[in-house]
């Protein structure tokens, strides 16, 4: 049974990009749906329509990064050359250096001596350089920095942010709350206890926990953690404040979230999760971008007819070229039908989410022309 095709509102990409009150666009979605490419394509289109844009990418494909001139991970926006600036716009791009961003926050918040203590702590080094979760926080931290800077010096009027490729990409939404509950919690007091007072003041519960932690982690790890927390103690307040500011910034009218998906069940299911999560948190959702939608069939010959005819031809000539053409057509029709089915399912449960579609390109995207083509495809009126 086929679902009745429904009319989903169209996401008007050019209206979004041209709206001067749009200051931040956050692209989120699961891995492999073309999120980085979409961010870059939106940023380029906005720049060529007159906006002063900076795009913050997380992990661009090498050739795309090269074509934008950001092969180096240096945390500084670099101008992208060959952007058409006739409308008065410009495009800068930068790649996020997670560890460096974290280090900079520490350095800006603490005295030189304290910063050094923290930066050298083994627990901090592990936390800041290689573990999941940090990337999300740092992407948002960098966004906050760029935005503050843009307000001060007018260097940019639109920031486009790519997010890390995981469901935890939205973890930053929890950051303020998580930091607060952590800071106000008993665990931190427990870690700080030895630094703050004599052991005899510890409650029985605390000593049980300390004992258990020592048993599991070993005394040295616990000591490293305690040193880290003690050194970090005064910074946590600053961190919480920054996280709260970023949260408020994301929730503000100037921000637009764009959820990116591919026309596949898994990617659209993740997109539904993102849409629901953003709606629950009252984040300004602009709409859904569905990438890599297969080009439609050029003739309305049905898949069943094509297969039946191909079988008849192969009965007499197993290498029939026409049979091959028919089979390809049937395959194409089936894939389009399946993609439509999944998109209609998404639309049925989220009828109010405006959607824009980018057609699958015949080749991979690794230059500005490719990005322009994607931007044009997204903005096209059906």
């Amino acid at each position: 049974m086929k679902l009745t095709p429904m009319k989903t509102p169209r996401l008007d990409i050019d209206a979004l990009l041209d709206d001067r009150t749009t200051e931040i666009i956050v692209c989120c979605g699961s891995g492999g749906v073309g999120k980085t490419t979409t961010s870059a394509a939106l940023a380029l289109r906005a720049a060529e329509r007159g906006r002063k844009v900076v795009v913050l990418t997380i992990d661009p494909a090498r050739r795309l990064a090269q074509s934008m001139g950001i092969e180096r991970l240096d945390n500084t926006p670099r101008p992208v050359s060959d952007v058409d600036s006739s409308a008065g716009g410009s495009l800068d791009a930068m790649m996020l250096d997670m560890k460096r961003t974290f280090d900079e926050v520490v350095e800006s918040q603490a005295s030189a001596e304290k910063a050094r203590q923290i930066l050298e702590n083994p627990f901090y080094i592990a936390l800041s350089s290689s573990f999941a979760g940090t990337q999300e926080y740092m992407a948002m931290e960098k966004l906050g920095q760029l935005h503050r800077q843009a307000l001060e010096d007018g260097s940019h009027d639109l920031i486009v942010v790519d997010t890390p490729p995981s469901r935890s990409a939205l973890d930053f939404l929890d950051a303020p709350e998580r930091l607060s509950s952590f800071l106000d919690g008993r665990f931190i007091r427990l870690l700080l206890a030895p630094a703050r007072g004599p052991a005899k003041l510890m409650t029985a519960g605390l000593s049980v926990v300390t004992h258990a932690l020592t048993k599991v982690l070993g005394a040295q790890v616990l000591r490293d953690m305690q040193t880290f927390v003690a050194a970090f103690d005064t910074l946590f307040g600053g961190f919480r404040q920054r996280a709260e500011q970023t949260f408020a910034l994301l929730q503000a009218d100037g921000t637009a979230f764009v959820v990116v998906a591919a026309p596949e069940p898994d990617a659209l299911r993740e997109a539904a999760y993102f849409v629901d999560r953003l709606t629950d948190d009252e984040m300004p959702l602009a709409g859904l971008v569905v990438n890599r939608v297969s080009p439609s069939a050029l003739t309305d010959l049905s898949a069943e007819e094509a297969i039946a005819a191909a079988d008849r031809l192969r009965d007499s000539d197993s290498s029939s070229l026409a049979a091959g053409l028919l089979q390809l057509h049937a395959d194409r029709v089936r894939i389009i039908e399946r993609e439509r089915h999944w998109r209609e399912r998404f639309a049925a449960s989220h009828p109010q989410v405006p959607t824009a579609v980018a057609a699958a390109m015949a080749a991979d995207i690794h230059d500005l022309d490719g990005l322009r083509a994607i931007g044009a495809s997204l903005a096209e009126r059906p």
């Binding site: 891995g31 290689s130 573990f131 940090t134 469901r167 926990v209 258990a212 290498s319 026409a322």
Partner: protein, 347 residues
């Protein structure tokens, strides 16, 4: 006890780690591999660690708890004998509580840890602990003594199941070395103590020939590049690289010479017209033109696929190909893919 260990490319491997860039279908391949390995009476455990309940959806069963559940039979061998596929959804909170109970008999302290927010801290904020717990649980399933162990498993009323192979649907290629190497990070962080010895043991399994890390890709530039990067990174990290599974390969409806003709616009439309009318298709010039245009799109893509295939072959690893199935993925499709993996020697 395995049926044809010498006929597969991975006879000594107990832990198959499956990774791949997002969108390449790594979870589908992991499931198909589990089905393929579960033949001839062998038990296979399929684990997921990303909290997505993808296995439950693929096999159309209720969301999986933190408990090993039999979900289906494997793909039958030549004599029609199948094995069993079990599934496990590993979440870090449950793994931590189980770990604490199992190794430290913490009892009251375990509850106190939870009350103090330590569990939440350990599984969400503390660096790497999450990945350590996830890999630790997989390690436990692989290392489990193979013969039925009579030792009472406190609080659980079931027999301990042992597995001939464990398949891990792992995090994506970009994060795989970090995920698998997290135990060595932790072992470096903790210089002595029980956590260190546990982390060292897990690392020893992951670096041993009993583990193989397979990479799933599609024949497009970015995923192939990421696969090559992933292989190099795995080598550097001393992790055992397995095979490459090329997924979602386009149908081979046209042979090489037909593809060339179509691409170069050298097909005679009148010949196609007459063939089509012979097949009782209501044909006109428009239809022939459309079919040829569609075929040209396909031929261009096939050429790009061939270029990427050459790059995959240059990695010089066992390579397996799976087709893009126009009907999508259901249980029947998974069995079909499993059989294809078997005939190609992956299982």
């Amino acid at each position: 006890m395995t049926a044809h260990p010498d006929r597969t490319d991975w006879p000594g491997v107990r832990l198959h780690v499956v990774t791949g860039k997002g969108g390449t279908g790594k979870s589908t391949v992991a499931a198909a591999l589990a089905l393929a390995l579960a033949s001839s009476g062998r038990n296979v455990l399929l684990c997921e660690v990303e909290g997505r309940q993808g296995i439950a959806r693929m096999f159309d069963v209720d969301p999986l708890p933190y408990d090993e559940r039999r979900i289906t039979k494997g793909a039958p061998d030549e004599e029609g004998r199948a094995g069993q596929v079990y599934a496990l959804h590993i979440d870090p909170e449950s793994a931590l509580l189980e770990y604490l109970a199992m190794y430290y008999k913490l009892g009251r302290a375990g509850k106190a840890l939870d009350r103090f927010g330590v569990i939440d801290f350990a599984t969400t904020i503390a660096p790497g602990v999450r990945d350590v717990l996830l890999t630790g649980k997989v390690y436990e399933a692989v290392q489990r003594p193979r013969r039925s162990d009579k030792r009472a498993d406190k609080g659980r009323h079931r027999d301990v199941i042992t597995y001939d192979a464990v398949v891990l649907d792992a995090p994506p290629t970009g994060r795989i070395c970090q995920f698998l190497g997290v135990n060595s990070e932790l072992a470096g962080l903790a210089k002595v103590g029980p956590i260190k010895s546990q982390a060292d043991k897990v690392m020893e399994l992951l670096r041993s020939p009993r583990t193989a890390v397979h990479l799933v890709t599609i024949l497009e530039e970015m995923p192939v590049q990421e696969t090559a990067d992933g292989i190099a990174e795995l080598h550097r990290a001393g992790l055992p690289v397995g095979g490459v599974v090329v997924n979602l390969v386009r149908p081979r409806a046209l042979g090489a010479s037909a593809l060339d003709q179509v691409r170069d616009d050298e097909v005679d439309p009148t010949a196609i017209t007459s063939e089509l009318s012979r097949a009782k298709v209501d044909v006109d010039a428009e239809l022939v033109r459309s079919l040829l245009d569609e075929a040209r799109d396909h031929a261009v893509r096939r050429q790009l696929e061939d270029e990427q295939r050459t790059l995959v072959e240059a990695e010089d690893l066992p390579t397996y190909e799976l087709p893009r199935l126009a009907g999508g993925i259901d249980h029947g499709a998974l069995i079909e893919l499993a059989q294809l993996l078997r005939t190609q020697g992956m299982a």
